[in-house]
Structures are given as structure tokens and as C-alpha cells.
């Protein structure tokens, strides 16, 4: 066993023992490479990582003793060391013998420190691979030499490429099991070359290895004299990282925090996303566009002459200009754009499918805004790279979408700048991270479609009608009595000479929304459109009454946000399910119970009652007439 560990190990030890200062000095100047390993379930990822840790002496004797014992007890390699057990961390997965989440490992050689993201090969865990890849400089794609390029290999390569990894290593593993056969290896490399070109990977390095036997890992193996490239570790030690390229780009620093210890100091803290900064440099604060110069770059150890991409700094400005969290400080003559409509790639990461039209939080750099995603332009089959039509995106689906935000975002295309082009979507109710996205470009209409100034104002419209516009938004189960009460309310208002309009759910679905069904996604879009129509009508001075089930809180809240403050009234027609079902005016509950009607609210589709409605009508206590009276008296006291 001791013989397996030779290579880098003893070299470092000799220097440590002899001259630890020299060793530390060397270690101090090491650079950092972050990489991911990906492959199919049995391609030997964990074994390879275990081997790298073992060969670079990151495994101690007590761990080794535990490993030996574990290998005998649950190992899959007979009496030999099962390196996979070193990295398969959680108890649950040790029992199942698979890796179920992203794990990060660390090792170092004389030249570099490495952070490895170990990402799983299962189909249902695409999101973990994307997560691991998002911070990686390089991807090691593992292929089992006996199996060649598989569907999963294609998927992992596509994902690595999608997330912008430019350095790809094709590691053809388990060469020992095919007797180190050169022809088989070359056949696999050729297959991969054809495929990788087709998805836009310009270049890759292929290395034949055995993680289990240690061939071509730390040093070239005598078993494959026909291979003349670098051993895997040598390649990882010498491959160029994108640091120089990042520093060559224009300066950008998203502001994280305003540092204001007292009235005399006002600094702006952030991590430099690209470029370099020196005192005296002209900068522009976005989105405001104001310009000034950098006065100081302040650190606890004294002011800096220059700071570069990747450093966390605090800068002060020559002039007092407005700047706060979410703003981007950029080179004055080469600022990034700001826009509110984009095309983007999205990786969906939640069990709950994407709902086009639903507002999500979008976090990009230090900016958090509300975003809505439109129906996907297409979904990508990650196995065949085909473009498929899709109405929504489900867990692990990848698609291209248009999205719009409620405020302008300062951004750069993901291809140009990962830190200003990568974003996450967060569900507003559960707070879960539901998607990762990469901005492609701003839609031209965001830049060129301006609001048309309207000369007859909404105030004029309202004054002419001698009333205050309002939206009375009825929500409740099917059969709760929304339409009945809404009609009574409208009649009363008209009798009082008010100008009204009733938008009824069933009627709208015969026209404006006849293309929508009853899935969650369609329900969200249904409400979004009705909300927009109601807003236009309110702008024209009308009192708008809407009667829609509108089952989700998030969308009702979205509509409230569209309206002027004080003009939106959420009215909950509160009828218990058993009561509505007992009435069953249209016979729909009976149909739903028989399974003839899918996605019926209250039966197999949820209703989220308002937590704090403006008006609540308990239909088991008061009549429709009384309810209408109550609502009108609230509107016109």
C-alpha cells in the first residue's frame, strides 16, 4: 500500500522537514484552481477524487485506518482500498452507495491549491452539477473506458459548456479494465471530439487514466507508453486560469455595503467583478450614471495603490455622489448596460414547476428585483441538444426564456462576465432558490419601446366621471358566490351614477384568455392579463369589479402592486368548500369528483385564502344582498 502513495508526497515532506520557511513561502505563492468532476454513476468519480487526496497526502493515518476497516465492511473493491468511501460523506448515501449532493474537497501540490466539486451523475440531480460547475474554472469529464461516450457524458459536457467552463478534460477512466488498449481509447476520444464540436466546445484535453490503479494520475504510467501528454495532476497544475482575462476587462464592482463609521468617512464595499482600480480612476455609478473619481482604496493594513478583479475592497470617491447597495461602480468610459427585459437561459431547480407570469425575486450580483418569466421559447433536451416546445420548465429542465424585471438591472451578458450575468430566482413564498439563470442580452424593445407620454391624464379621466377609480377584486372558490355578489354591487353602483365595468372569469375565458387552460401556469397568466386590463380601465377612471377564483396569493399581491395605492380592494368571498360543493350551481364539483375535470380548485388544485383581505364576506352568515350593501358602503362611505 505504501508504494501507491509515492509521487508528490515525499517531495513536499522533505522540504517541510528540512526548511519549513521555504515550504511556506512556496505555499504562500500558490494559486487556486477550482474544478468539477462529472461522469455517470459508475464512472469512478469518487474513486478518482479519493485517489487525488491520497496521492497528495490529504489523508491521515487515522482516516486511512478507518478507510481500511470501511473498505472491508462495505467496500465494493474486495480487500483493496475503496477510495470512494473517503468522499461519499453522508450516512444515507453510504448505505445506498451513491453520491447525492455536491461535496467540496481540498488538496494541494507544490504549485497549486485545488478545490474540487464532486457532483453526482444522476439524472434527477442536474441542479447539483450546475451548482458545482458555477464556481469552477475547469471540468473533468469522466468516461468509463468500457462504455465510451454515454448520454450522461453528453449531458455533463453540455452543462459544463452552458455554465461557461472553458477548460475541459476528458478523462477516460478504468483503462486497467480494458488492458490499457490504445485503439479503444482513441476511438472514445474521436467520438467525443465529434460530439463536443457539435455543442460548441472548441477544445479539450484527453487523458487515459485509472483512478483505482493510479495510472497517469500524478505521474505518467508505464502501462501506457503510447500516451505522451501530461498526467492529470500535471495538467491541473499548469493549465491557465481566466484571471488575466478578467483583469483585462473594464472595471466593475457591485456595491455590497456602504461603510459609514462616522460623518467623515463614506466608503463603498464590494468584490471587484472585473478589471482593476487605482486612486484617481474615473468611475461611473450605475444605474444613475453619475461620475466621479476614486479617492482611496481603504484596507485595515493601509491604503492600496491598485486593486484587481477577485479582491474585496472598500473605495471612497472624490465627490459625494449617491451610491448604495445594488449599484455598480464601473469604468466611466466603458460602463455596463441597464435594462429591464432580457433573453436568458434558465435551469429550473425546484420540484414546483416554473410559473410563467408569476413574480419571483431575482438576485444578480448585489441587486434584488422582482422578475416575471414568460413562457419558454423552447426547452433543451440535454441528451440530444434538441429544442423542444414547452409551456413551462420542470425540475432539472433547461430552457431559453424572455424575462422582465420591475426595475432596471445593471448587467453584462453572462458570456462576458459571470458575476454580472448570472442570477438566481427565489420563490417569494417559500424563499427557496428555484432557478439559476444566465443573461444572454437585453431585448431591443426594452431599450427602444418608451412610455408614450399621455396628455389626458388619469386624473382628468376620473374627474370627468366624477369618481375615484377603484378595483374591487373578488376572490374565492368556484361557486362561492363571487359573480352573484359582484353583479349586485355593480347594479348598486350604477344606480348611484358610478361608471363601472365587471370583468367576469367565465366571460374573459371565452375571449381574451381563451388560449389558457387550468394548469397552475395558465392560472397565473390568466390573472396577470386580467390585472393588466383592470389597470387600464382604472386609468380610464372606471370602478372595475373582477370576479375570478384567483387562487394564489402571489398573483393577487402582484395585481395589488400594479394599482395606485388605495385603489385596490381584495374581497374574499369566504364560502367553505363543503358549502360551495353542496350548492354546486354549475355541476362542476360533481364532475371534478368523478375525475372528469382536472385541476379544479379545492379538489385537486390548491386555493390560498387571503391572510388579510380588505373585506371578508362570510356567505354562511349574510345574504348576497347584505354583502353587496356592505361592499358598497366600504367604497362610498
Amino acid at each position: 500500500m505504501a508504494g501507491m502513495a509515492e509521487g508528490g508526497r515525499y517531495q513536499a515532506d522533505a522540504l517541510v522537514a528540512e526548511d519549513v520557511e521555504a515550504y511556506l513561502d512556496q505555499h504562500r505563492h500558490k494559486t487556486l484552481l477550482r474544478f468539477i468532476t462529472c461522469g455517470s454513476v459508475d464512472d469512478g468519480k469518487s474513486t478518482l477524487i479519493g485517489r487525488l487526496l491520497y496521492d497528495s497526502k490529504m489523508i491521515f493515518e487515522d482516516q486511512l485506518a478507518a478507510l481500511e476497516a470501511d473498505s472491508k465492511r462495505v467496500g465494493t473493491q474486495g480487500q483493496e482500498l475503496d477510495f470512494a468511501l473517503l468522499v461519499d460523506g453522508l450516512a444515507a448515501e453510504r448505505e445506498q452507495g451513491i453520491t447525492i449532493d455536491v461535496a467540496y474537497r481540498f488538496f494541494a501540490t507544490d504549485k497549486r491549491k485545488f478545490i474540487v466539486a464532486d457532483t453526482p451523475g444522476h439524472e434527477q440531480y442536474t441542479r447539483n452539477m450546475v451548482t458545482g460547475a458555477s464556481t469552477a474554472d475547469l471540468a473533468v469529464i469522466l468516461v468509463d473506458a468500457r462504455k465510451g461516450v454515454l448520454t450522461q457524458t453528453r449531458r455533463h459536457s453540455y452543462l459544463a459548456h452552458l455554465i461557461g467552463i472553458r477548460n475541459v478534460v476528458l478523462a477516460v477512466n478504468k483503462m486497467d479494465l480494458i488492458s490499457y488498449d490504445q485503439a479503444t481509447y482513441e476511438g472514445i476520444v474521436e467520438d467525443y471530439r465529434v460530439f463536443s464540436r457539435s455543442i460548441g466546445i472548441d477544445d479539450f484535453i484527453a487523458i487515459p487514466i485509472s483512478g483505482f490503479r493510479g495510472d497517469n494520475i500524478t505521474a505518467l504510467s508505464a502501462n501506457m507508453p503510447w500516451y505522451s501528454g501530461h498526467a492529470l495532476l500535471q495538467h491541473l497544475e499548469t493549465v491557465e486560469i481566466d484571471e488575466a482575462a478578467d483583469q483585462a476587462k473594464p472595471f466593475r464592482m457591485p456595491v455590497q455595503w456602504v461603510n459609514r463609521p462616522d460623518l467623515d468617512f463614506r466608503g463603498f464595499s464590494g468584490l471587484i467583478a472585473s478589471g482593476t482600480a487605482k486612486p484617481g480612476d474615473r468611475i461611473r455609478v450605475l444605474p444613475s450614471g453619475r461620475t466621479t473619481r476614486i479617492a482611496r482604496i481603504v484596507t485595515m493594513e493601509g491604503d492600496m495603490d491598485e486593486a484587481v478583479a477577485g479582491e474585496s475592497v472598500t473605495v471612497t470617491f472624490v465627490d459625494e455622489i449617491d451610491c448604495s447597495r445594488g449599484d455598480v461602480v464601473a469604468a466611466a468610459d466603458a460602463p455596463p448596460q441597464a435594462a429591464d427585459q432580457f433573453e436568458a437561459s434558465i435551469v429550473w431547480m425546484s420540484d414546483q414547476e416554473m410559473l410563467p407570469g408569476r413574480p419571483y425575486w431575482l438576485k444578480l450580483a448585489t441587486q434584488t428585483v422582482t422578475a416575471t418569466v414568460q413562457h419558454p421559447k423552447y426547452q433543451i433536451n440535454v441528451n440530444t441538444m434538441e429544442h423542444l416546445a414547452a409551456k413551462t420548465l420542470e425540475l432539472n429542465a433547461i430552457g431559453v426564456v424572455n424575462l422582465s424585471t420591475d426595475q432596471a438591472l445593471v448587467f453584462e451578458p453572462y458570456e462576458t462576465n459571470r458575476r454580472l450575468g448570472g442570477f438566481i430566482l427565489i420563490d417569494k413564498l417559500s424563499n427557496a432558490t428555484v432557478a439559476a439563470g444566465m443573461l444572454h442580452f437585453a431585448l431591443r424593445r426594452a431599450q427602444n419601446v418608451h412610455w408614450q407620454p399621455i396628455e389626458v391624464s388619469r386624473e382628468t379621466h376620473a374627474r370627468l366621471k366624477n369618481q375615484k377609480p377603484a378595483v374591487l377584486w373578488f376572490t374565492g372558490l368556484s361557486g362561492a358566490g363571487k359573480s352573484t355578489i359582484a353583479n349586485l354591487v355593480e347594479k348598486k353602483l350604477v344606480r348611484m351614477n358610478r361608471h363601472t365595468f365587471l370583468l367576469d372569469g367565465d366571460n374573459v375565458r371565452h375571449g381574451l384568455n381563451r388560449d389558457l387552460g387550468f394548469t397552475d401556469a395558465d392560472r397565473v397568466e390568466n390573472i396577470r392579463r386580467v390585472g393588466e386590463v383592470a389597470r387600464l380601465m382604472a386609468d380610464s377612471g372606471l370602478i372595475v369589479i373582477t370576479a375570478f377564483i384567483s387562487p394564489f396569493r402571489a398573483e393577487r399581491e402582484m395585481v395589488r402592486q400594479m394599482m395606485m395605492p388605495g385603489e385596490f380592494f381584495e374581497i374574499h368571498i369566504d364560502t367553505p368548500l363543503f358549502e360551495a360543493e353542496a350548492r354546486d350551481v354549475k355541476g362542476l364539483y360533481a364532475k371534478a369528483r368523478r375525475g372528469e375535470l382536472k385541476n379544479f380548485t379545492g379538489i385537486d388544485s390548491p386555493y390560498e385564502p387571503p391572510e388579510d383581505p380588505d373585506i371578508r364576506i362570510d356567505t354562511t352568515k349574510i345574504s348576497p344582498e347584505e354583502a353587496a350593501e356592505l361592499i358598497v358602503s366600504r367604497l362610498i362611505p
Binding site: 460523506g89 453522508l90 467540496y104 448585489t366
Partner: protein
């Protein structure tokens, strides 16, 4: 062009993480255990917010069983940083006189796990920084930097939020909390090197000195004061020892060593053949899954 070293990149990442928390949390706190990792974390916090004082307090979940030298350094660092220091002791454990000699695993449960939960609830802290590193232990390797906890402080490894790029989702419902680990990507060597380069003050127990000790259950225990009850036949012996990790003193074993300077300590660490947590009794509970189980129950 300036090439950043791995330590510079790690420090920049940790500082970025701390600033994100301060910008997005309602009431953050820094768990301060007085060990070397806490020392580095505190140093990074002071850099992150300089010239401001870090805008959160330090919280020491005390067990009353720490080494005396740890209490001294703790109070000194709180003074020097200008930060508020909150010391919390589980009143129930105090009342029952829970100690590591008579109560075994209950000692850690009540003082540390329960104590931490009580302290977070009492002060209403919604985000707590911790100094844990992913290289310490297998289940830590899979934990996120922003590690989400349910309202009853439980960690669910299957329901972790995906963490992409350097974007951290700090949103949560009322009652839920987040543990944040800014040193996730540091290794033991990185920590030592940072301490050396930046002259970070650490507890002198990390350096070898002649100290009174007894050998018990395979661990070398230091007789810090009269709180260590000697067993029949045990006589304290002077040994040149130091500590690789510092916990409650009866639970933390010392190693025999002559390493009295930082360089010596680093050399010894690099040449050593056993892993850092080996001296800790805590990981040995419940077979191989000890730490994972403790974390699910709310241990840091």
C-alpha cells in the same frame, strides 16, 4: 497584472460572504469559540468592515469548562475589536451542574447544542457566523456556505438550497435561521498560514510547553486547574504538549510536541499522520455518522 494567491482569493471570498450577511440579515451574530478558526474569522470580519467596527456582536456559548487561557484571550479580543461580547450559559445545565466527567455526551448536548439554540432564540439572532471548514469532516464537506435551519434549528441535508456562483439566498420566514460559514473553503494549513502572515493572536495552548498532564482513555489530558478530578492512581506528569484543537478541556486531548513556534507547529501539522479532530471525543459517538447526527439536531 497581479496574480492573486490562493490565500488572497480565500480571504476575498470570506469577506464578501460576511458583507452579504450584514447587508441582508436582520440581526446577525458571530459565534466565537476562541479557537484558531474563530481567531481567523474575527480577523477577517475586522478587515471586511474596516474602518467600521464589525456591525454585529460576538457570541460565546460557554460551557464553563474551557481552558483558562481561552477565557483570557476571549476577553482581550473583545476589548481590542471593540465588539460587544455576549457570553451565554445554558441555565438548566448550570443548575444541574452538568460536567464532562459525570454526564458524558449530555455535557455537549446541554451546554453546546441546547445552549446555542437557547442563545439564538433569546436574542433573536437570525443569522449566525460559524468558523467550520469543509475539510474538517465528511458531512461538513457537503454543507452550504449559507446553511438554512428550520424554526427548531434542524439541518436537513436533503433540502439544502442550491448555491450558485457567489450568490447567496439569505431569505427566510420568521423563526427560521441561517448558519453561515465564511471559512468553508479553507483548510487547516490555510488557517495556520493566515495566522502567521497576519500575526493573528491565538491561544498559547496551540504551542508546546511543559504542562501537567494525565493519560486517560488513550487521550493526554491537561490538568488546567482543580476542576479535573483525578482517578485513583493518577498522578499529573509534566509533558511537553500542545493542542491541535481546543474544546472543553477534559474532552480535548493534547499531543506530545516540542513545537513552540508557528513554523514548528505548521511543520508538525504537515508531517503529522493523524487528522485534526482525532483528539476530540465528540466525533466518536454514534459510529461514523456522529457529526452528521449532531448537526441535524442543531449542533453547529
Amino acid at each position: 497584472m497581479k496574480i492573486l494567491t490562493h490565500l488572497e482569493r480565500l480571504a476575498a471570498e470570506s469577506i464578501h460572504i460576511m458583507r452579504e450577511v450584514v447587508a441582508e440579515a436582520e440581526k446577525p451574530v458571530m459565534l466565537y469559540s476562541v479557537g484558531k478558526d474563530s481567531a481567523v474569522m474575527l480577523h477577517l470580519a475586522r478587515r471586511a468592515f474596516y474602518p467600521s467596527t464589525p456591525p454585529f456582536p460576538l457570541l460565546h456559548v460557554d460551557t464553563t469548562w474551557k481552558f483558562r487561557a481561552m477565557y483570557e484571550l476571549r476577553d482581550r479580543m473583545a476589548r481590542e475589536s471593540g465588539m460587544e461580547l455576549i457570553v451565554y450559559r445554558n441555565p438548566e445545565a448550570e443548575r444541574l451542574g452538568i460536567n464532562p466527567f459525570d454526564h458524558g455526551p449530555v455535557h455537549t448536548d446541554m451546554w453546546k447544542t441546547e445552549g446555542l439554540k437557547q442563545a439564538l432564540d433569546k436574542y433573536g439572532f437570525d443569522v449566525a457566523f460559524g468558523g467550520a471548514r469543509r475539510d474538517e469532516e465528511k458531512s461538513r464537506a457537503k454543507e452550504r456556505i449559507f446553511s438554512f435551519r428550520s424554526a427548531n434549528h434542524r439541518w436537513d441535508p436533503k433540502r439544502q438550497r442550491p448555491e450558485l456562483w457567489y450568490l447567496y439566498n439569505a431569505r427566510k420566514a420568521k423563526g427560521e435561521t441561517i448558519r453561515v460559514f465564511p471559512l468553508s473553503n479553507w483548510t487547516e494549513l490555510d488557517i495556520w498560514q493566515y495566522i502567521q502572515l497576519n500575526k493573528v493572536p491565538i491561544v498559547p495552548l496551540y504551542f508546546a510547553a511543559r504542562r501537567p498532564t494525565v493519560e486517560r482513555d488513550g487521550l493526554i489530558l491537561m490538568v488546567d486547574d482543580e476542576r479535573l478530578p483525578l482517578r485513583a492512581g493518577e498522578v499529573p506528569v509534566e509533558r511537553s504538549v500542545r493542542f491541535r484543537t481546543l474544546g472543553c478541556y477534559p474532552l480535548t486531548g493534547a499531543v506530545e510536541s516540542e513545537a513552540s513556534t508557528l513554523s514548528d507547529v505548521i511543520r508538525e501539522m504537515l508531517l503529522t499522520t493523524s487528522s485534526e479532530r482525532q483528539g476530540r471525543a465528540i466525533d466518536k459517538d454514534a459510529g461514523g455518522a456522529g457529526m452528521e447526527k449532531k448537526k441535524q439536531e442543531g449542533y453547529f
